[in-house]
C-alpha cells in the first residue's frame, strides 16, 4: 500500500480555517451565554452564600458569646444586689431589733416609773389616810379621855395606853 506521503496537517486548509473559526465563535458564544455564564455566576453566588453563612455563623457565635457574657454579668450583678439587699435587710433587722429593744426598755422604764409614781402616790394617799385616821382617832381618844374625867393619873394613863392599843393601824 502506498499513501500520499504528504505532511498535510501543517498546511492550513482554507476550508478548515473557515469552519474552525465559525465553530469556535459559535461554541464560544453558546458556551459563554448558556453554560459558562450561568455556571460561573452560580459558583460565585454559592461561594458568596457560603461565605455569608460562615460570616453569619461567626456573628451568631460572637453574639452568643456576648449574650453569655452579659448573662454572667447580670448574674453577678444580681448576686451583688442580693448580697446588698441581704446586708441591708440584716441591718434593718438589727436596727429594728435595737430600736425595739430601746423602745421596750423605755416603755418598761416608763411603766416602772409610772408604777413607782403610782405607788408613791398611793403610799402618800395611804399615809394621808393613816394620818387622818390617826388624827381622828386621837380626837376620838381625846374626847373619850375628856368624857371619862381625867380623875386619877394612873387610871388616865392606863386608859390612854389602852386606847392606843386599840388603834388599829390598818
Amino acid at each position: 500500500m502506498i499513501f500520499l506521503a504528504d505532511f498535510s496537517v501543517i498546511k492550513p486548509d482554507v476550508g478548515l480555517l473557515f469552519w474552525t473559526s465559525l465553530i469556535f465563535l459559535l461554541f464560544w458564544f453558546l458556551m459563554s451565554r448558556f453554560a459558562f455564564g450561568p455556571i460561573t455566576e452560580g459558583l460565585k453566588k454559592r461561594e458568596s452564600d457560603i461565605q455569608d453563612a460562615l460570616d453569619e455563623a461567626k456573628k451568631a457565635k460572637e453574639e452568643m458569646a456576648a449574650l453569655n457574657a452579659r448573662n454572667e454579668e447580670l448574674i453577678k450583678e444580681a448576686q451583688v444586689e442580693r448580697a446588698k439587699i441581704m446586708k441591708e435587710a440584716k441591718e434593718v433587722k438589727e436596727q429594728i431589733i435595737t430600736e425595739a429593744k430601746v423602745k421596750a426598755k423605755e416603755d418598761a422604764n416608763r411603766i416602772v416609773s409610772s408604777a413607782r409614781m403610782e405607788i408613791e402616790a398611793q403610799k402618800k394617799a395611804a399615809l394621808l389616810d393613816v394620818k387622818n385616821q390617826v388624827g381622828q382617832m386621837a380626837l376620838d381618844i381625846a374626847e373619850k379621855v375628856i368624857r371619862k374625867d381625867l380623875s386619877a393619873n394612873p387610871q388616865q394613863v392606863g386608859l390612854v395606853n389602852k386606847l392606843v392599843e386599840e388603834i388599829k393601824l390598818n
Binding site: 502506498i2 496537517v9 492550513p12 486548509d13 482554507v14 458556551m31 459563554s32 453554560a35 460561573t40
Partner: protein, 440 residues
C-alpha cells in the same frame, strides 16, 4: 489495573482491525484496477486470496505504472493524521458533505459517497465527480481541461516523486491526469498554497469539532441547568464532577493572571480550554475517527489568532506604550528593544499555534508508528509470527504512549489556556513603575 487491561485489549483489537483494514485496501485496489484492465483479471484473482499469496505486495500496474507496495510506516502515519472527506469509524467509511469551489466550475456541493469509495476501505473513490476525485480520503481536482465533467469511472491513483516533489495522478481511460490538492493558506511556506480549488467541505476534522462541541455544550448546559435548578443545594453527580474543572481554570489560571478583571475573560479561557481538551481527548479515542483536530495547524492557528486578537484588543495604554516606546530605557536600548517587543507580539501566538500542533501531531504519529510495528515485523501481513511479536511489542509501547498522550492532552490544553491568560494579563496590567515610586 483493570483499566490497563482494557487498554491492552483495545490496542490489540486496534492492531487486528488495522490488519483487516490493510487487507481491504488490497481488495479495493484490485477492483479499481478491474474497471479498465481486463488483462489484469488473472492478477486480480490471485490478489483476492493474498493471505497465502507471497507476492501480494504487487498489484500490477495502474495506467502502466507499476505500484510500489512496500509498507511505509511514516507515510501511513501521515495519512492517518490528515484531514479527510470521509469519516472513519474503525474500517467503516462514512461519507461527508463536500462543498467545493473552483473559479472555473463554481460551487459544487454533494455527498462524498458520490465518489464511490468502499464502505470498508481507505477512502479512494472509483468515480470522478465534476473533475473532483477522492484520493485516499482527500478530495483532489483534475486540472486538465480535457478531463470530462460529470460522473465518470476512474481506475486508480498513482503517486510519484517528480524532482523530489510529490505528485498525484488519477488514471482514467488508461491515461494519467495530474491532480491538484486543495488550497492552503501557508502561502507555499510548507509546500501548499493556492491551487485551482477551495475545499469548504465538512471534513473529518470539522465533523469531530461538531461532535465534540455539541457534546461539551450539552454537558455544560446540563451542569448549568442543574446549578440553576438546585440553588442553595450541594452539587451532586455531573455537576459535582465538572465544577472543579471550571473552578480550577478560574482559580489557577484566570484569577492569578488577570486579577479582578478575570470575569471578562473567564468564558473565553474556559471555552478555549475545554475546546482543546475535548478535541485532544476525542483524538485519542481509537476507531472513532481517530481525528487529529488539535494536531492540525489550521485549527491551532485559528485558536492562536483568537488569543492574539483578544490580547491586543484588550491591551491598555500601558501595553502599547511599553510596546512602542519602551519607557525608562536609554535610546540605544530602545533601538533593540522596540523591534524585539514588536516581534514578541507575533511570536507569542505563533508559539501557541506550533506548541499545540506539534505536541498532538507528534503523539499521534508515534502511536501510529508503534502500531505500524505489527506490519513491519509481520512483513506486511505475510509473516504471522513477526506480526504476533510486533503486536505484543506494539501493544506495550502504544499503551505507554497513550498514557503519555492522555497527560499531554490535559497539559497542552492547560498550557495553551494559561499562556493565553498570561498574555491577556500582561496586556491589561496596570503598571506601577519603580521609578515613579522612587520619585515619591
Amino acid at each position: 489495573m483493570r483499566k490497563f487491561f482494557f487498554s491492552a485489549i483495545y490496542i490489540v483489537a486496534f492492531a487486528i482491525v488495522g490488519i483487516a483494514q490493510h487487507n481491504h485496501d488490497h481488495d479495493h485496489d484490485h477492483s479499481g484496477h478491474d474497471h479498465s484492465h481486463d488483462h489484469a483479471a488473472q492478477h486480480d484473482h490471485a490478489g483476492h486470496d493474498h493471505d497465502q499469496h507471497h507476492d501480494h505486495g504487487h498489484h500490477g500496474p495502474i495506467c502502466g505504472v507499476e505500484q510500489d507496495h512496500e509498507f511505509d510506516a511514516g507515510a501511513t502515519a501521515l495519512h492517518h493524521i490528515s484531514d479527510a472527506n470521509v469519516y472513519s469509524i474503525g474500517p467503516l467509511m462514512i461519507p461527508l458533505p463536500c462543498i467545493l469551489y473552483s473559479k472555473e466550475d463554481g460551487l459544487k456541493t454533494f455527498l462524498s459517497s458520490k465518489f464511490h469509495f468502499e464502505t470498508l476501505g481507505h477512502g479512494s473513490g472509483h468515480q470522478a465527480v465534476d473533475k473532483y476525485v477522492l484520493d485516499e480520503g482527500t478530495v483532489r481536482r483534475v486540472t486538465d481541461p480535457n478531463f470530462p465533467k460529470g460522473e465518470v469511472p476512474i481506475s486508480g491513483f498513482v503517486h510519484k516523486e517528480i524532482d523530489g516533489k510529490h505528485a498525484s495522478f488519477v488514471c482514467y481511460n488508461n491515461n494519467l491526469y495530474p491532480t491538484d490538492a486543495k488550497s492552503t493558506a501557508d502561502g507555499g511556506l510548507f509546500g501548499g498554497g493556492l491551487t485551482s480549488f477551495y475545499d469548504f467541505s465538512i471534513t473529518k476534522n470539522v465533523t469531530s469539532m461538531l461532535i465534540v462541541c455539541s457534546f461539551l455544550f450539552f454537558l455544560f448546559r446540563s451542569v448549568a441547568k442543574s446549578m440553576q435548578r438546585r440553588v442553595g443545594m450541594a452539587p451532586t453527580g455531573l455537576q459535582n464532577f465538572m465544577e472543579p474543572f471550571v473552578t480550577f481554570i478560574r482559580d489557577e489560571v484566570a484569577v492569578p493572571f488577570l486579577g479582578p478583571k478575570y470575569d471578562r475573560y473567564l468564558p473565553f479561557l474556559l471555552t478555549i480550554f475545554f475546546f482543546i481538551l475535548g478535541l485532544n481527548l476525542f483524538g485519542q479515542v481509537p476507531f472513532f475517527g481517530g481525528s487529529n483536530v488539535t494536531g492540525n495547524l489550521a485549527v491551532t492557528a485559528v485558536l492562536a489568532i483568537f488569543a492574539f486578537l483578544i490580547t491586543n484588543f484588550s491591551g491598555n495604554a500601558d501595553y502599547w506604550k511599553h510596546l512602542f516606546l519602551a519607557p525608562g530605557t536609554p535610546w540605544f536600548v530602545k533601538i533593540i528593544l522596540i523591534p524585539v517587543e514588536l516581534m514578541g507580539v507575533l511570536i507569542k501566538p505563533v508559539t501557541l499555534m506550533l506548541r499545540l500542533f506539534a505536541n498532538i501531531t507528534a503523539g499521534h504519529m508515534v502511536i501510529l508508528i508503534f502500531v505500524s510495528f505489527i506490519f513491519i515485523f509481520g512483513k506486511n501481513g505475510t509473516y504471522w509470527p513477526g506480526a504476533g511479536l510486533g503486536a505484543i511489542g506494539s501493544t506495550l509501547l502504544t499503551l505507554f504512549m497513550m498514557a503519555i498522550e492522555l497527560i499531554v492532552a490535559f497539559v497542552q490544553a492547560f498550557v495553551f489556556t494559561i499562556l493565553t491568560a498570561s498574555y491577556i494579563g500582561a496586556s491589561t496590567e496596570e503598571h506601577h513603575h519603580a521609578e515613579h515610586a522612587e520619585h515619591h
